[in-house]
């Protein structure tokens, strides 16, 4: 597949790349709409309820979530640095930063798993629990997919699939990871701060 990609001229590659990028951005937009629909559903439930969270429902731990958020936001920065290292042809730094991103992503998922196992509420226990587990679970699934995406991209980069001018997979992985980060900003604010 890599050999086939190299047979395409630079002009052709750029044209195909711009289409792929646009397609990927449309995918991210559609994914944001999916999250937005669940977020608005949560806000509707919240506004319809006389008190929030409903009586007898415990809020999830704020400070653990804050630390977990910083782990995820930190991974966004390391992913950006990995992309910049690739653009500057620094392969060692690229590998280091992308591994750091994967480790931080796994750290975030571990923190979320810890939070899930220590919460007293359940998915079916209350409206708050249903919204919380649906939205954060859906986000966690996206992070898991992102970690798999990054591992694939790292292996592809090591196997020479990308070169200095043709690295759309890396760009897509970076945009996806930033998207996952940004969705968490909204979820952290909604469930822990607001």
């Amino acid at each position: 597949m890599a050999t086939h990609a190299l047979q395409v001229s630079d002009a052709e590659y750029q044209e195909v790349r711009s289409h792929r990028l646009l397609g990927f951005l449309f995918f991210l937009i559609s994914d944001s709409i999916l999250f937005c629909s669940f977020i608005f559903s949560y806000l509707y439930d919240r506004s319809a309820s006389p008190m929030w969270p409903p009586a007898g429902v415990e809020r999830p731990g704020l400070y653990l979530a804050a630390v977990n958020s910083i782990v995820l936001f930190g991974s966004g920065v390391t992913m950006h640095l990995a992309m910049e290292a690739w653009r500057h042809a620094n392969r060692t730094r690229f590998t280091q930063y992308i591994i750091a991103t994967i480790v931080l992503g796994i750290g975030f998922l571990s923190g979320q798993a810890y939070e899930y196992t220590h919460l007293h509420d359940t998915w079916w226990g209350s409206v708050f629990g249903a919204s919380f587990f649906t939205l954060t679970g859906m986000h966690g699934f996206h992070v898991f997919i992102g970690v798999c995406f990054l591992i694939t991209v790292l292996l592809q980069a090591r196997n020479g699939v990308y070169d200095q001018n043709r690295y759309f997979g890396l760009t897509a992985a970076t945009l996806y990871w930033h998207f996952v980060d940004v969705i968490w900003v909204a979820l952290f604010f909604l469930f822990y701060v607001y």
Binding site: F73, L81, E84, V193
Partner: protein, 65 residues
Amino acid sequence: MDATLLLKIIAGAGALVVGYFAVKALYEEWPKTALEDQVTKIMMALLTLGCVIVLTVAFGIAGKV
């Protein structure tokens, strides 16, 4: 040390460090004009906002326990 205080310190210090790098990345991305760079600018700005939110939580200004 109290666990809550420790978590607050880690979150606050982490938010400062990550926020600094996010702003730096945003500053470096600013002159670039490609489509993915424009998206990255938006993402980095929102990441910075996330760090500010965590910072306010760490300082006890925002957040419900």
